[in-house]
Symmetry: C2
Subunit: 261 residues, 2 copies
C-alpha cells in the first residue's frame, strides 16, 4: 500500500507562560489561549521597543477593524456605487485613551469608505497625543464629531462601535457622559461591535454582539458576544521575548473568529 503519511497536524501551536483563564479555537481547530491583561500589556510594550509604535498599531488595528465592520455592514451588497443614497450609519463611542484612538482610526477608514460616521467623544481640555492625532486625521474626513450624547441619533443606526472602556481608566465609568453613552447604546437597537474591550465583571456596561481582540485574546465574559481576533503585525520573536511560543493562527486572514472551548 502506497499511502503517503503526512505529518500530524499540531493544533496547540501557541503556548503561554501562564494560562489566562480561557481557551479559544479557530475555525480550523487551532487552539488560541487567552492571556492576562498584564501579559498583553507587556507584549505591546516589547513590540513598541522594537519599533511597532502606537501610531503603527493604531493604523493596522484601524484598517483591520474597519474591514471587519464593512463586512458586518453588508460588504459589497451594501457598499457599491449603485447604492450611494443608502449609505450605512455607524455611531462610534470613544473614551479619551488609546483604546478610544483605536476606534477613531477605525472610524476614519470607515468614513473613507463612504460610511456615515458619528463619533461621540466628550470634550476634554487636554487629551493624550495619540487621541489628538487621530482626531485631527478624522477631521479630514466627512465624518462628524459630537461631544454630547444628546447629539447622537434618535433612530437606530446600522452599527454601534464601542471603544469607551479601558482597563486603566475604570473611574471614567462613573462620569455622567459615560453613563449617558451606555444608556444611549443600550436604548438604540443597533448591534454593537466592541474593539479591544477590557475584561469586565460588572454587568451594567454595553452588551456587544461581537468583540474584536488584538494580537492574543483576553478571557472575555458573556457580554463580549462573539469573539474575533485581529492580527496587529507582531512578529514571532517579540512573542518569544515575553515567554510566548507563538505560531500564527491567522492563515491568510487578518481577522478570524474564535470559539470558546
Amino acid at each position: 500500500e502506497n499511502i503517503i503519511e503526512s505529518e500530524p497536524i499540531v493544533y496547540r501551536r501557541i503556548l503561554v507562560p501562564q494560562p489566562g483563564g480561557k481557551e479559544y479555537c479557530t475555525d480550523s481547530g487551532l487552539v488560541v489561549p487567552s492571556i492576562s491583561y498584564s501579559l498583553h500589556k507587556k507584549l505591546l510594550c516589547v513590540a513598541e521597543k522594537h519599533g511597532l509604535s502606537v501610531e503603527r498599531r493604531l493604523e493596522i488595528s484601524g484598517v483591520c477593524a474597519s474591514q471587519m465592520a464593512l463586512t458586518l455592514l453588508g460588504g459589497p451588497n451594501r457598499l457599491n456605487p449603485k447604492n450611494v443614497h443608502q449609505r450605512p450609519t455607524v455611531a462610534l463611542l470613544c473614551g479619551p485613551h488609546v483604546k478610544g484612538a483605536q476606534g477613531i482610526s477605525c472610524g476614519r477608514h470607515l468614513a473613507n469608505h463612504d460610511v456615515d460616521i458619528i463619533l461621540f467623544l466628550p470634550n476634554f481640555v487636554k487629551m493624550l497625543e495619540p487621541v489628538t492625532n487621530e482626531l485631527n486625521l478624522f477631521c479630514q474626513t466627512q465624518g462628524k464629531q459630537v461631544p454630547n450624547v444628546k447629539d447622537l441619533p434618535d433612530c437606530p443606526v446600522d452599527l454601534v462601535i464601542n471603544c469607551l472602556d479601558c482597563h486603566e481608566n475604570a473611574f471614567l465609568r462613573d462620569q455622567p457622559w459615560y453613563r449617558a453613552a451606555v444608556d444611549w447604546a443600550n436604548g438604540n437597537r443597533a448591534p454593537v461591535l466592541s474593539i479591544d474591550p477590557p475584561v469586565n465583571d460588572q454587568e451594567q456596561g454595553i452588551h456587544a454582539k461581537w468583540s474584536l481582540e488584538l494580537g492574543l485574546p483576553l478571557a472575555l465574559g458573556e457580554q463580549a458576544g462573539r469573539v474575533y481576533l485581529c492580527d496587529i503585525g507582531i512578529p514571532q520573536k517579540v512573542f518569544r521575548e515575553v515567554g510566548i511560543s507563538y505560531h500564527s493562527p491567522f492563515g491568510c486572514k487578518f481577522v478570524i473568529p474564535l470559539h470558546s472551548i
Copy 2:
C-alpha cells in the same frame, strides 16, 4: 405606473486638476484618472502634514500589499494548518529608499502569515531611517535577509515582489547589485508583483505581472502588467487640498483592480 426613479449613477467621481495621461476604470465602471508623479508626491506630503506619517503609510501599505500577495499565493487553499510543510516562498527585492521600506513592511506581514520570505537588500553603510526601522522589525520575524544576489534561490520561487525602483534614485539602476537583481528576477520563472513602481520608459527593468498603486495611480506603461489600486487611508479633504475632487472608488475593499480605458 409606480416606478421609483433612482438617481443616475455618476461614474466620474474623481476629478484631477491636470490629466495624468491615462484613465482607468474599476470593475463597477467608476473612472479613476491617473495623476503625475509630482501631484502624487504633493498628495502624500499634505497627508503627512495632517498626521498620516510615513510610518503609518508603511503600515497600511504593508498590510494591504500583503493581503493582495496572500491572495495571489492561493489564499486559504495554500495557507492553512494542514499545509505547514508546503509554505510558499517569496523573494522580495528592495532598494534603499521609502519604496523599499514599503516592501519590507509587506514582507514582515507575509512572514507573520507563515510565508517564507527572502529579502534582498544590499548592505549600505547608512540608510534612511524608515528603511532601518522596517528592517529592525523584519528581523523579529522568521524571514531571512540576504545582501547578495547570489544568495537568492536558484529554483523558481512562488512570487517575486519588486520594490527596487524609485523615481528619485534613478542612478541606482546603474549599480551592479541592481543589474544583478533585475537579471535574477528575469531569470527566475516566478510571477512578479511590483509595489508602487515609478513610471518607467526604459525597457530593461523587471516586467511585472501585477502592479499595486497607492492612493491614485500613475500612468503606468505596459511592463507594469495588471494594475491594482490600494487605499492608503487618505481622507477626502486632503485630496481636496491638492485640488483633487475625490470620492472613494474602493467600495468595501482596500485593494481593487483597475482597467485601462
